[in-house]
Structures are given as structure tokens and as C-alpha cells.
Subunit: 392 residues, 4 copies
């Protein structure tokens, strides 16, 4: 069971870049980072508009002078303060992630960056190098990986409950962009613009989530893949609003990924099904407290969060905030991640590498793999959907 | 959409009585009250054990001298401080609610009290009177009433979407107490002890939730009821671990309530189904983002939180923290309630009665009705399950 | 697995009374009785209208002279024939069941009668006596008791898989009569007329199904009950379109039954949940190939028809007609019952009492219990919903 | 509503080749063909073993001399009889379909043949030509196409309820062959043997069902596809026990097909989802009475068989055998198809081409398309999963 006392040591002084007024995901960051007392918001460059940033930050209770016009100023000014920020979360559109992350790391800050971390693998690997040089933590906001049942799945697979993995079925396919809603919605508009969004839309925006979940659960590497992508709303070209990927994994397993914004009528449909020799495991983000466990030849089982029959280690259980039967949700997953980020940042601060190494969190390697998926998908899709090798 | 800026005015200085280390519901209070910046925890009499209280509160970051040995001391000492507490949440076993609430109100504090608020209707009405005399807010922690889809249901019923209500089916029936788990579990043990729990176990512990949900949705009054209760684990007698109630409502509707701790294998099963002349509405606490809406002669519909087709007023929509498709859960419901408590407490502080009156929250009247249900159920059950009038 | 060869011995010469053109349930009888070759339709008094009966029967391929104007004539004329009928199914409105059944038995015919078999327990017991005197089989068409998963449930309960039964939750509550549809629907109209329907509407029409299912599964006897019934469509009074019953069973278990025709928007909702000390079992007639098995403290399981882990005896498995994963339905349940009726009738014909005794089928005792339920419910409901003893 | 009178004209004299004792699908044919009186079983060459054929057929009530040692004899002998067979159903392993079908047509018989109809498109087209020359009906047993909700989906799509089709998601993926069960199961064994099964296992055995369902619903043509197949149980090579296909359709839609026998723990999982510009439709063979209809921006709806809001034409409604809320299943779907086969065969017998043309049934064209899918999948899969044109 979650222990609020353990998590209440001195909070990390924390800022955000992006996530300003009206943004889609800013509140999720603030609400989750501060939830367990690991982080305290003390500064921000929340907005592309300096005035709105100041107004917004002030309303959130910040010192107006710590509401900055841009991230460069923030990093510079905060570095001068005794009580300057120690970590920053980056929740701006994709095109800016690389530069902001680089600047943050070089200013000695720990970073939590939104996905996709960069446009290219080379950039992402660059960030990895810089983070290492500065001894800073680099977390990537794969927000669904904080769910306890996802870790339960991972552990069951890793201890052999389903046998060798054969088929991986990944899906994140909603219908909210079935029509050209971006005309009136700036938060959607940039996602369709390759200069801001990067080489993909749905693949990067949501496909990377499902892909990383499966990687986390199975630990398998892709060997080659074949991708086809479409712009059903023509104005979205060259970016896709629907994509299908077929994958072959190094152990002989095969996989499919469906990412879509035009799956009309569907709410989310992030579903991950891992089929093994003996059993399958399925997790669905709209029923995140449950895990379907289907052993061939036995009645299907539904595992529930908060129950004694779950694996009793840190990842699956210690983040349990309330008993089984109660619905935990998206925000608990995020808070669990920020709790992990806080734990490793504090450990890094006291140079406790053992704790950093022992604590799972979605880091820059996870970010790199997400970007690699996008590079390969584009390479395949734009080459008439031919198969491409995953690693060079 | 939830607006974190609006909710970030100066927080209320807040304390808890009960909810200490290892308690079941203490974390839920703290996590929810502080979530939106309405409340800041500054003091506590968290525990029956003074030493543990101090250790616990200190670990939470409190000033040790504001970790009190008992609530009397806390109310007295805090009243002397400039920066003393303004509100208190009471999360102790049931037997203490009346005395602590009374003392709090008389010390000029706003109160959030756990359910069931008291052992008797007379006591609950007394609290109502005292709260009025002191002009203090009295909130009752019916924690499921913060879910948006519950308010969506309420509004649909009230605008006539299902027609006149005919049948109300209420259920909160889990299986966690199928065996005599209280032997090793102090949090369960007191619930079976009439001196601490009051005249009922499952009826008060969970039945009141489902009953109040239905009252909230329909606004109907019970006319008479008939209750049968059992102690399937004999050592629990005279308290029941299972109860069934049949009710007749003033408008001619009928209802049933099933409260159970021995519904083996069931996780929660808080389900409320309201059947009207034209349609039915069903809500289930394990899938709280959905509402089933079944119009006779039409395909059944599933309404989803966060969608544009929902009623667009305050209750149903402004508490939306993230778009549809994402799972909100138990803690958002609680945070929504604390947000409402904060809003009305602040309004009361500035003597803004209009806001208090216009803002729905579960108050002492809701608390009184919950206790009345228990009184009547016991009266019926202990009189060979005869029908009893609901109001005298 | 079902063996069509075993079931294809010489069919029983069979007739129907009722179930004529446009009737609700006539096709189900014919389709199921002839499905496995146990019965062959050779005569009928299908209709209250002699002309329509002849036209209908002829269209079905019958010899016109064996399409009779009334059952009296049919029984008399068929008795004279070498190849006369050996069995009859009675699918007329309730008021006629007693007289027709009596006449059939006295003519030496085996009988399958629709439920409720009679208006009174005394009549039903009379039929039992007559059937015994004439050594004839009397089957009652509790059509859901042919489902394999119902027998799986019964056997699991009887071998102790759920422990001692504590709570029985019975429900058959559809919404098709939410409005006064009987105005234009003769098949619904007679159901609301006490002279034809008997002392109840929904209790007898559908409540008896759910009640008998629970009796079959648990084998428990009711000790006392309390019933409240309503006529939400006022013109239906004195018959009810909604009823709730609370029951106490001889072993200390408690139960509830909800029968309704005004559960707006609901399709069927015949659900039976049996809660035991260790686990619960739930069956739902809209997903009849599944059985929910929920052991407290373990992941919930879904058992599926056709799987090797089911009990391997006659009742649960031999009626399996196609492997698991395929949807069997209502008609297989009925055909399974007719298969059982055929088996015992043929056994009775050759005076093989051992087979009759060893073969489960819903017989006159089941019919008597159904009528007793109705008598007691009416006694309670019409006496201000007071508790009444079940057996005198 | 289904009208048993209309369907009871003089039955067609009918035989089976294959489907003998212990076969998987023989009973389904017999039970469905005779269900509505369209067909009467009078002869058979049921088995590869002449003695067992005779014993089996006799037990079914056939004249022993009409239980033939092989189909050649049967066709020859029956042709000599006044009361000889008029139609034959072929339920033998795949390798024999072509020769038996050809012989049957050339003997002047109507044919119902199991899928896949042949090993090659050329053979299937040959059968089409022969059937036309002899003026005989050729039905293919796509057994799921008799479900009413499948036709409801087809009509909704065709009248534009979902808008232009964008994505087609097809799946038939069970787990029954996760282990090498064929070692002890002859019915499974031949399916893994290319000489008997043909060029594929799961693609032909089950993939063709899901593919044809989607074709039926949407009417779209495949333009090109890319397939990868695996033999997770190595001894099954070269035949696959798992396959994924990506497809591009002529109207710009894309599709995926997953066929598997190693989807551990899954019962059937034949799911067809058709995503359009405005809405999606989903049908699942384990809940065949329901259809999910999800309009973007509206609450998801579940349509139910037997309801007045369904399309009121022949295909969707006239095959309704019992009101909504009751579970129809697999056997009703098959009986509906045999009812259609009977209707067109009788029409063909009286040279009523208008009725033949106006009555939908799965015919040889459907069979050809199924085989074409297999040819193309193999061509792609065995060429390193490259894309291949669908039509030459
Ligand atoms: N992890 C998840 O589940 C999840 C969910 C949604 C979005 N995201 C990611 O979060 C990021 C932001 O997405 P969003 O939907 O919130 O976008 P948004 O358009 O809604 O908000 C972007 C915010 O960033 C600010 N901004 C833009 N450029 C800036 C700059 N140079 N400096 C400072 N602020 C700047 C904008 O003013 C705005 O407040 C994206 O990378 C997106 O992929 C992740
Ligand atoms: N709203 C809900 O959903 C919900 C859920 C659980 C519990 N509850 C209610 O909350 C209350 C507490 O339940 P719990 O399960 O957390 O109980 P618990 O036994 O787990 O915890 C009770 C806490 O109160 C402390 N305490 C006891 N007496 C005290 C006193 N006189 N002064 C100060 N502290 C004292 C104990 O030390 C302990 O920390 C009960 O009234 C219960 O009905 C409500
Ligand atoms: N087991 C089940 O699931 C189930 C389902 C539906 C109905 N039923 C029962 O079946 C019986 C018939 O119900 P229904 O809905 O088919 O009724 P219906 O009104 O639709 O049909 C009754 C049929 O009986 C004929 N009939 C009436 N009186 C007759 C007489 N004296 N002699 C011969 N024929 C006569 C009518 O002409 C008509 O054809 C009822 O007892 C009902 O409770 C049972
Ligand atoms: N439409 C469906 O849903 C469905 C389902 C199952 C099988 N099938 C198809 O049905 C066919 C049969 O499959 P099955 O699973 O029943 O096979 P099976 O092996 O269980 O049975 C085959 C039967 O055919 C007989 N047989 C074999 N060769 C014969 C011959 N030359 N002459 C006469 N009889 C012969 C065998 O003795 C046996 O009785 C296959 O083509 C299969 O693809 C279709």
C-alpha cells in the first residue's frame, strides 16, 4: 500500500516549460507532480505568450517574477537563485523538446519531457549523452506506465506465466479526429503540422504509448517492421491520421500496432494483448484496474488491482493508494510516475546511484525507442510500405 | 473543463481528527483536500495514540507542536493561534463523530465528517442546529457523489429523460468480509462492534452510500420500508453483514437495497439503477466514467464522461479534469467534493450565502437521511422485518 | 458431446394444444421437440379458432383431419387410431392448462405443459396425482433449465464449490411492457387479465422462471416470504407489472426476486446469482454460454460452455452440440429439454422406471413449486406485503 | 418474424458427403438443413469408412441401402431412383471439395459445399462454370452469414449510416491449437497437412470467415495485401497457425486480418469492426445478437436482435425466430442459411430465376473470393511478406 509518509520528504523545486492556460496536458503534470509532495511548483515558462504566462502562473500562486517569458531566461535566472529550480517538466509541442531538454540538462536540471522526446533518434541519443555527462535524470512521460496492472502484467510475463511470447497486439485508436476538428482547435492543429509535430501524427502522438507499453511488458526487441499510413482527412497529409504496423520480434514473435485518430466512436481503445505459448494477458486503458489473464484450457480470469494475489513487489503493489474495488485512474498512474521521478532525482542529488539503478522509471532509453519506432515507420510507409530493418 | 486557476485562491487552514497511520481512509482525505489547493494541512489529532500521531504528522511535514494528543486539545490550542485551523475533517470510527463534530462546530470550525455522521437522528439533527447557530458548513463524506456521471444522471432524471421514476435498485455488496477477517484486522474489527460502529454494520458502512446516491439522483422520499438483516458470521451479531431492504417511495415508486460484506468474490458492486416510465439509468462505481441510458424501444446507450453531449452545467462538466476516454476515478470524485466544500467554506467565511445556497454539496441533511435509514432499518429488521413508516 | 445417433430412435407421435398461428411460443415447441427426432408432429388443436387451426396445421404438413377444432375432440379421435398421438404439449393461455392437462393425462397421454401449470397449488397437486395414476410423464416447460451452464452451476453448488449458500439473488426484469402495449397486442392482453392469466402477471409469466432456476441450482426450500407488487400501468390492476419478493430459506439463506415487465430499456435480465460462503456463481440468460465464478480472494473466472474443465457428467456436457466459443442459445436449451422429455417418455412407455428416475427433467413438482410461489406472493402482497409462511 | 408455415413446403431430398460419426461439423449441417423442413435427409456417403457410414446412417434412420460407400456410388445410384436426391452437402476435408462438388453438379445436384471450396481459384472458377452450365445452385457454408445482425450491419453500411468506409478490422483468433493437440485429434490433424488442408491452415480454416463477413458488410474489393504467417508449433510448417494480413481496398480503405489458432485463452474472437467517416460498427460472434454502433460524438449504442428499430427488410428481420432478449445462436445462423439455400434451390427447380436473383445467399462467387484471399496471402507470405496485387 502506498505510504504517504515516505513520499513526503523535502520536495524538489520544480518548474514547467509549456503546459500553460488551456493546454491539454499541463494540469495533469502539475496535479501529479505535486500530489505526493515530491515536487513543488516554484517557477514556469508556461506559455509561448509571456503575458499569459505571467497571468497564469500568478493565478496558480507563483511569484510573478518567477513566471518567465521563455525557458532560456528561466534557466538562466533560476540558476542564480539560492532556491532556484532543480527540475523541469517540458510539455510543449514536440518540435521544441530537443532544444529545451538540452538547455535544461546543460543548466544542471533534471528533466521530465513529453513524448515523442525528439524528431530523430540521433537527437534523442544526444540527450542521453548530455544527461549522462551532467549526471541528471531524464524521464519521459509515458503516462500509462504508472498503472499497477501494467507492472503486474510485466512481472507475470517475465516470470513465465504465459510462456514464450508469440503475438503482441497493440492498439491506440480513438475517433476524436474523425472530422477535421483541427480547424477550430489549436491543440489539435499543431499535431497535424510536420514542422511542429515531427514526421508523424498518430504514430507519435499515441502509437508510441501502446508500443512502449508492450516493450515494457515483454522486453522484446523489434527486428523488422512494415507500416502503412493514411491521411483520411486529406489536409493532414503528409501526416497520417491512421496507421497499421506489422512487426517481427527478435524471439520470433510477431506484432501489430494500430494507431488511429479516426476510429469513429471509439473513446480510447488503448489495448495491449500479449499472447504466449500458454496464456494471454490483456490490458485496456479504459478499465485500468483490471487485467485479463486467459490460460488456454482454463476459465478466463480477471485480476483486480489491490488484491492479495498480485505480485507483492514494489512496482505492482506499493503504488496502491486505496483498496481493490475502488477505481483508480489516469491521475494515479501519472502520480506514480512522478513519485518514481522524484525518488530517482532525490537519489541522484545525493549521488545514490544504487537507488537510481534499482528504481524503474521511463527514461531516455524508452524515449529513444519511441523515436526509433517513428523513424522506421515513416521509412517503411513512405517507401510503399516495404519492410525495413529496425536496427541498422 | 476543470480550471485549476479558479481553485487556487488562498487555501483553508485545515486539520484532521483520525485518519492516522495505517487508517483506511485518511490518505484519501488528505490527498483530495489538498489536490486543488483549497485546503492546506496544518494540524492534526490523527490518532488515538498521541505518540504515533506526532510521529505521523511530523513525517507528513507538520510542525510537531501542531500534532495533538487529542481533538479537544487541538481545538483549544488552535483557537489561540493567529494562523489556527479554520476547518477540520473527521475520519475516526463512528462512535466519536457526534462529540468531535459538536466540539469542532462550537470551536467555530467548518466540518467535513465521515458517514454515518451519528448513531441517532436526534444527534444528527442536533449537529445541524449547532452548525446553523455557528454559521458553519457541515459536509458529509459521501465520497461517490463527486463523480460527474452521477450528476449527469441526476440532471437527466430531473429534466425528465426517463419519465416518472418507478423502480430504484440500489446495491453495495462486496465480498471482502465473507470470512471472519476482523480477527486480524483492527480496521474491520470496530465495524462489527456496536459500541463503536453504531446500530448497524453494512447498512451504515456502505448501504448509506448507495441509498444517498439514489436520493441525490431522484430526489424522492421513502414512505415506508421493510428490512431483513443477517450475521452470516455469527460472532458479528447483533450487527449484520448482509441486509436487504424493500422501500416504497412517496411518488409510488418502489425500491430495493442490498448491502453486503459477504457477497463472495464481488469487488464492490455499488450499482444504482433508476427505472422510469420511458427509460432507465444505471451507474456502477467500478466503471464510474460511464452511464448506461436505456430508452425502451431504442438501442441502449453508454454515455461517457468528458463528452460534449453531456449536460453542460456546473455539476456535470466543470469538474472534468481530463478529456473523455481517460479514466478518472475515486480520487477525482473525492477531490471534486473537497473542491465543493472549499468553495462553500470560503463563501461562508465572507458571508456569501448566495454561493453557499447555489452550490450543491453533501451536507448535514444528507447525513441525517443516512442515519434515518439506519434507524428505520434496525427498527424493521429487529421487529421480525415488519414494515415501518419512514418519517414519524 | 451431443450424440445425434442416440437420439434418433423411433420418434414419439406428438401433438400440440395451442401454439397456433401468430402465437408467441408455438414455434419454439415445434422446432425444439422435433429437433433431435424424439418427437414427430402428427396432430394438433393449435387454435381457439377451428378454421385457422386446420389451415395452419395443413400448412405445417399435417393431415387435415388431424387438425382438430378442440382438444377434447383431438384426445378422443386420436385415441381411436392405431397411430394416434402418444404425447401432447400444451401452449395455451394459463387458464386452460389444468383442464387440458387433466384431459390429456386421462386419455393416457404424456404431457408437456407450459408454466404456470395451474392457477392453484391444489390443482397442480391434482395433476401430479393423475399423472402418477396413469403412469404418465408430466413435464413443465421451464425453458431455461436446458442450458448446460445452469447444470454446471447446479453441480458446482452441490459439490460444495461455493460453500454453504447465503444469498440468492433472482431477477427476470424486462422493459417490453413499460407502456400499455397490450392495447394492440392480444398475446400481451390476456396476460393482464386475471381470468386468463391467473392471480399474477409478471410473477407467473417470468418470475417463476428465475425462481425455479435458483431452486434447481441450490435445492433449497423457502421458509417465508414477503412480496410487494405494483400495477404501474393502472389498467393492469389487480395484476402486477412489477414485483419484489424477499425470501428466507430453510438453511438460513436469504433471497430476493425481482420480476418486472416495466424495467425500461432492459432486454431480459434474467440473472441468477448464488452467493456462498466461499464464492459466488452468476448466470445470465443473455450470455447463456458463460458462467461467472467468483471465489473470494481470487481473480473472477468466466467458465465457458464446451470446455474440458466443466463437470463431465450427463447434465452439463452431453447436451453440448458444438464446441466452445460458438454461441448456443435459447433453442438448444429447449431442444435439450425436449430431448430429456423424449428420453423419459420412451422409458415410461417401456416401463423402465430406473431411467425415468435417473433422468433429470422439470416435472410436475417443479410446476407445483412455481404455483406455490405465486399463491404465497399474492397472499403477502395483497395483505400489505406482510411476511407469510411458505409451506402451511 | 420467421414464418414456419412458409418454410414447410415439400422438402428437398438431400444427402451429405462427409460429416460422419465423430466429425466436427456434420451435425450442424443435418440439424440446420432439416430444421425448417426445407431438406430431408435421405441418403449419405458420410464417411471414408464404408462400414461406419452404413452403421451411422442407419442409426440416423436412413435406409441402409442409401448409406453409400463413396460419393461416386451415391451419385450414380441415386440418379437411378425416382425419389433420388436433389441436393447434397459436402462436409469432407478440403482436398476433396473440388472433385466431389464437380461430380455432384455433373450429376445434376444442387450443392452446399464447405469452405474453403477448393485449393485454387482456377478450380473454384471451374465449379462456377459447371454450376452455371447445369443450372444448379452452389452454396458455400460461410456459416456466420446467417446471423441477422450481420445483415443489419450490411444494410446500415450500405445506406450510409457510417459514411464512407475507412478501416476494416477483421479477426478470427482462437487459442485451441496453442499446443500440438493434433497429435491426438484426427479432426485437427488433417488441417495441418497441406495435402488435405490445402495451402493454408488458419487462413483458410477461419480467416476466410472473417474476411467474407467484411466483404459482405462493405462490398469492397481488395487492391493489394501483405501477409505474414508463422508456424509456432514447428511441426505445422509449412502451414501457419497464426497469420496477419494488411490490405488496401479499392476505395482507399485499409484493413487488417488476424487469423490464429494460438491466441491462447481466447474462445473465438471472430470480431469484425468497420470504421466509417461518421461511425463504426462492430460485430462479435460470441455475442451474435448484438451490434455495436458507435457514432463519433454520440453515446455508443448497442443494437439488439428482434427490435423494431432494425431495418425491416427480408434479410435482417424475417429470420427472427424469437423475440429480442432471447439468445439466438450459431444454429439459427446456419438454419437461416439452409433456409435460403432451400428457397433458391426450389426456385431453381421451377426455373424461377427472379427469386434466385433476388435472394441473397453465400454462393460460388463468395467461395472464389475466399480462395483468392488464400492464394494471395500465400504468395505474399512465402515471398518474405511482400505486397501483392489482389487481382491480376
Ligand atoms: N503523455 C501523454 O499522455 C500526453 C498527452 C497529451 C499531450 N502530450 C504531449 O505533451 C506535449 C504538449 O501537448 P499539449 O496537447 O498539452 O499541447 P497544447 O497545444 O495543448 O499546449 C502546449 C502548451 O505549450 C506552450 N508552449 C508552446 N511553445 C512554447 C515554448 N516555446 N515555450 C513555452 N511554452 C510553450 C503553449 O502556450 C501551450 O500552453 C506534446 O509533446 C504532446 O505530445 C502527452
Ligand atoms: N466515505 C467513504 O467512502 C469511507 C470509506 C472508509 C471509511 N469511512 C468512514 O471513515 C471513518 C474511519 O474509518 P477508517 O476505515 O479509516 O477507520 P480506521 O480504523 O482504519 O482508522 C481510524 C483512525 O482514527 C483514529 N482514531 C480513533 N479514535 C480517535 C480519536 N478519538 N481521536 C483521534 N483519532 C482517532 C485511529 O487511530 C485511526 O488512525 C469511519 O466513520 C468510516 O465509516 C468512509
Ligand atoms: N416457457 C416460456 O419461456 C414461455 C414463453 C412464452 C409463453 N409461455 C407460456 O406459453 C403459454 C402460451 O403463451 P403464448 O405467449 O404463446 O400465448 P399466445 O396468446 O401468443 O398464443 C396462445 C395460442 O393458444 C391458442 N389457444 C388459446 N386457447 C386455446 C384453446 N382452448 N385450445 C386450443 N388453442 C388455444 C391461441 O389460438 C394461440 O394460438 C402461456 O401459458 C405462457 O405463459 C412460456
Ligand atoms: N463452416 C464452418 O464453420 C466449418 C466448421 C468446421 C469445419 N468446416 C469445414 O468442414 C469440412 C469438414 O471439416 P470437419 O471439421 O467436420 O472434419 P472432420 O475431420 O471432423 O470430419 C470429416 C468427415 O468427412 C469424412 N470423409 C473424409 N473423406 C471423405 C470422403 N472422401 N468421402 C466421404 N466422407 C469423407 C470423414 O470420415 C469424416 O466423417 C472442412 O472443409 C472444414 O473446413 C467448416
Amino acid at each position: 500500500m502506498f505510504n504517504e509518509e515516505m513520499r513526503s520528504e523535502q520536495p524538489i523545486r520544480w518548474a514547467m516549460v509549456g503546459g500553460g492556460r488551456g493546454s491539454q496536458i499541463g494540469y495533469a503534470h502539475r496535479s501529479s507532480a505535486t500530489r505526493d509532495g515530491h515536487f513543488t511548483l516554484v517557477a514556469g515558462a508556461f506559455d509561448i505568450d509571456a503575458e499569459r504566462c505571467r497571468d497564469f502562473g500568478t493565478n496558480l500562486g507563483l511569484n510573478p517574477e518567477r513566471c518567465y517569458a521563455d525557458y532560456q531566461t528561466m534557466f538562466a535566472e533560476e540558476a542564480k537563485r539560492e532556491d532556484g529550480i532543480q527540475a523541469v517538466s517540458i510539455a510543449t509541442p514536440n518540435s521544441t523538446h530537443y532544444a529545451i531538454s538540452k538547455a535544461a540538462l546543460e543548466s544542471g536540471l533534471h528533466v521530465v519531457c513529453e513524448k515523442p522526446v525528439t524528431f530523430t533518434v540521433a537527437e534523442a541519443e544526444d540527450l542521453k549523452r548530455i544527461a549522462q555527462e551532467h549526471g541528471r535524470i531524464f524521464g519521459v512521460m509515458y503516462g500509462y506506465t504508472g498503472f499497477q496492472m501494467v507492472h503486474q502484467a510485466r512481472e507475470m510475463i517475465q516470470r513465465g506465466d504465459i510462456g514464450k511470447v508469440r503475438v503482441i497486439s497493440m492498439q491506440f485508436a480513438h475517433g476524436f479526429h474523425s472530422e477535421e476538428v483541427e480547424k477550430d482547435n489549436p491543440g489539435a492543429k499543431w499535431r497535424m503540422n510536420p514542422e511542429v509535430s515531427g514526421p508523424t501524427y498518430v504514430l507519435g502522438d499515441i502509437g508510441t504509448h501502446a508500443f512502449y507499453m508492450a516493450q515494457l511488458m515483454t522486453g522484446l526487441d523489434v527486428e523488422r517492421l512494415c507500416c502503412t499510413r493514411q491521411s483520411f482527412i486529406a489536409s493532414r497529409a503528409p501526416l497520417e491520421d491512421n496507421a497499421h504496423v506489422m512487426m517481427q520480434f527478435s524471439n520470433g514473435a510477431v506484432g501489430t500496432l494500430w494507431a488511429s485518430g479516426v476510429n469513429a466512436g471509439s473513446m480510447h481503445q488503448q489495448k495491449i494483448r500479449i499472447v504466449g505459448e500458454k496464456a494471454s494477458i490483456e490490458w485496456w486503458d479504459e478499465r485500468p484496474n483490471q487485467l485479463s489473464f486467459e490460460v488456454q484450457g482454463e476459465p478466463a480470469r480477471v485480476l483486480e488491482r489491490g488484491m492479495g494475489y498480485l505480485h507483492n513487489d514494489d512496482s505492482a503493489v506499493s503504488s496502491d493508494r486505496i483498496g481493490g474495488g475502488h477505481a483508480e485512474g489516469f491521475f494515479e498512474s501519472w502520480a506514480n510516475l512522478y513519485s518514481r521521478f522524484g525518488t530517482v532525482m532525490k537519489a541522484a542529488n545525493r549521488d545514490d546511484q544504487a537507488t537510481v539503478a534499482a528504481t524503474w522509471f521511463p527514461g531516455i532509453d524508452a524515449g529513444i525507442e519511441g523515436v526509433r519506432l517513428l523513424e522506421r515507420c515513416v521509412e517503411s510507409a513512405d517507401n510503399d510500405a516495404q519492410w525495413v530493418k529496425y536496427y541498422e
